[in-house]
């Protein structure tokens, strides 16, 4: 696709998204809003997962931090909740930086376990510090401006902020910094030997990712008008991971596609059966086993096959993700 065609395609998509309240019903717009929030959250996680190769369980905690920023601003300081949106980026960045500084002292499995432990600490704090956070009850009924009480209005607000966030992440992802992250993902040790200060870059990525997860959380708090500890529990963090899995972790746009599929899938499943865990679990298992590079990977493979079928037949080079922990050249 030429750059001009790509730009045109994106303009069309943007137009369709903005005009959505005109042709989609109220329930659909609510779903669309959910999709944008989830997409932002998942794209921020993918900066770590897909780009840098860091499996972090802390992303639910940062999401929750963003939600609580909005809620606490309103609850304790009596300030407009909307201010929490830009503020959440700073708060999220700070919390992520501190968490990452500790968590990144370890690598691989241990790093992941550390992110779990640290984020659970945050969850417990939210749960237990009743005077500050209202504990298990959560904070509800957050006051929002009238324009956001309207379904379309809140959708447009979320869309605008979400799109800004995703574009910012896109810029970071494709920058030279992003190439260094990919090198780290591919071969951490080698990346150090070509001159990259791996820890520092990982911490930077972790901080940025956390900041935008918090941004997504702040949008959630405005949209749902509430914040509660359950948002921060590590099992909630499985959501963006599955979104990334569905959409594909090696393409930037993957998590966006994944968010669409996930929300629609989840909503239709919960409408039809009580046992949504069973169905969703089976679907995810299927994806893990059969199509781990997700939708975007599928598209890429198909596009590659189409391209090659016009030339001489060549061996299939669909990139199967392989174990990056050990490199075996004779595989």
């Amino acid at each position: 696709m030429t750059p001009r065609l790509t730009l045109l395609a994106w303009l069309l998509i943007a137009g369709a998204a903005i005009a959505a309240p005109a042709y989609i019903d109220k329930l659909g717009i609510l779903s669309a809003t959910r999709i944008v929030i989830l997409a932002l959250w998942a794209v921020s996680l993918n900066l770590l997962l897909g780009r840098t190769g860091l499996v972090s369980f802390a992303h639910a905690a940062f999401f929750g931090v963003g939600a609580y920023t909005v809620a606490l601003l309103w609850l304790h300081l009596d300030l407009p909740a909307v201010l929490g949106v830009p503020l959440s980026v700073a708060v999220g960045a700070l919390v992520a930086f501190l968490t990452g500084a500790v968590a990144l002292r370890a690598v691989h499995l241990y790093f992941s376990m550390l992110t779990l432990a640290l984020s659970q600490l945050l969850f417990v704090i939210a749960f237990v510090w009743y005077d500050f956070t209202q504990g298990d009850n959560g904070i509800h009924g957050i006051d929002i401006p009238d324009v956001l009480r309207d379904t379309a209005g809140s959708y447009w607000f979320v869309l605008a902020v979400g799109a800004l966030g995703i574009v910012a992440l896109w810029l970071v992802s494709r920058s030279p910094f992003g190439t260094a992250l990919q090198a780290i993902r591919e071969n951490r040790q080698r990346a150090a030997f070509i001159g990259i200060n791996v820890r520092r870059y990982e911490l930077a990525a972790f901080t940025v990712a956390g900041a935008f997860a918090a941004l997504a959380g702040s949008l959630f708090a405005l949209f749902n008008r509430s914040a509660y500890p359950g948002l921060m529990d590590w099992t909630a963090g499985a959501q963006p991971i599955f979104v990334i899995l569905i959409g594909g972790m090696y393409e930037f746009v993957g998590p966006v596609l994944g968010a669409m599929v996930y929300v629609l899938l989840e909503e239709s499943v919960t409408r039809q059966t009580l046992y949504s865990n069973l169905v969703l679990g089976a679907v995810f298992l299927g994806i893990v086993l059969l199509r781990p590079d997700g939708l975007a990977g599928l598209v890429r493979t198909l596009a590659g096959r189409m391209r090659r079928s016009r030339l001489a037949p060549v061996a299939d080079d669909s990139l199967e993700p392989h174990d990056t922990d050990q490199l075996e050249p004779e595989r």
Binding site: A106, M113, L114, A117, V128, L278, G281, A282, P321, H322
Partner: protein, 293 residues
Amino acid sequence: MDLDTLVIQLLAGLTRAGLLFIVSAGLSLVFGAMRVINLAHGSLYMLGAFVASTVVATIGGDWGLFPALVVSAAAAALVGSVIEVGILRRLYRREHLLQLLATFAIVLIISDIVEIVWGTANLSVARPAVLSGSVPILGRPFPTYNLFIIAAALGTGVALTLLLRRTGLGRDIRAAIVDPEMLGGVGVDVPRLFTVVFVIGSALAGMAGAIAAGSGAVGLGMDVEILVQAFAVTIIGGLGSIPGALVGAGIIGVADAFGILFLPRLTLAIIFLAMAIVLAIRPSGLFGLPERT
């Protein structure tokens, strides 16, 4: 606080530690030998508890729990073997993340299956008559069942240690823990070894579930509740180390018991803090081997 209360609390902590140890030992072996984070371990524990409730209800409460221990372990082992052979085996050459996600998907599946089969209500399981009642310790009544739990934990520890140190299988497992890459090179049938380890781990989880069933209510949510604590124990004690799991379980169990007394709301936080500290300072845990970068 007087000495008597101290001792009683300590014993309560050891009871909790005992149960945690049995669960964590299985998790630690799988984690250590296969480098798999098996999130479904808690689900197998929960499955064991529910199966035990059915067995006890069928046979009768007077001694029904004893066969339940075996049945639960077997059921969990069976499910575990299906998981390993049918699912995990296909993912070993792939990213660790995919194995993790697969086990998480299995958590979802099992939790709903349990709900479908047993419903949502909490169930209670009758203890065997011989284990009911209490034993006076320092003048205070201490539940006999708790002593059973501690004994079961010690027995499990001894059995596992003997397995690891005195058998060929145990030698292979220890080799896997130390250097997974060398395994194939020294002529070990790796797929079979992995299946055996996973089945052992699953059986331990199931048996622990049955024991827990006799101790209190059986309900949904048991899977996640035990999982994080088991991970904390495994991390603190070190991957693949039975003594480590013992020490880790002891620390967590006792901290839990005393924490509930003094800082009830922060007990959980303390556990996570301990986990984080160990990971940050000595990631391989108290007894584990240093991880190669």
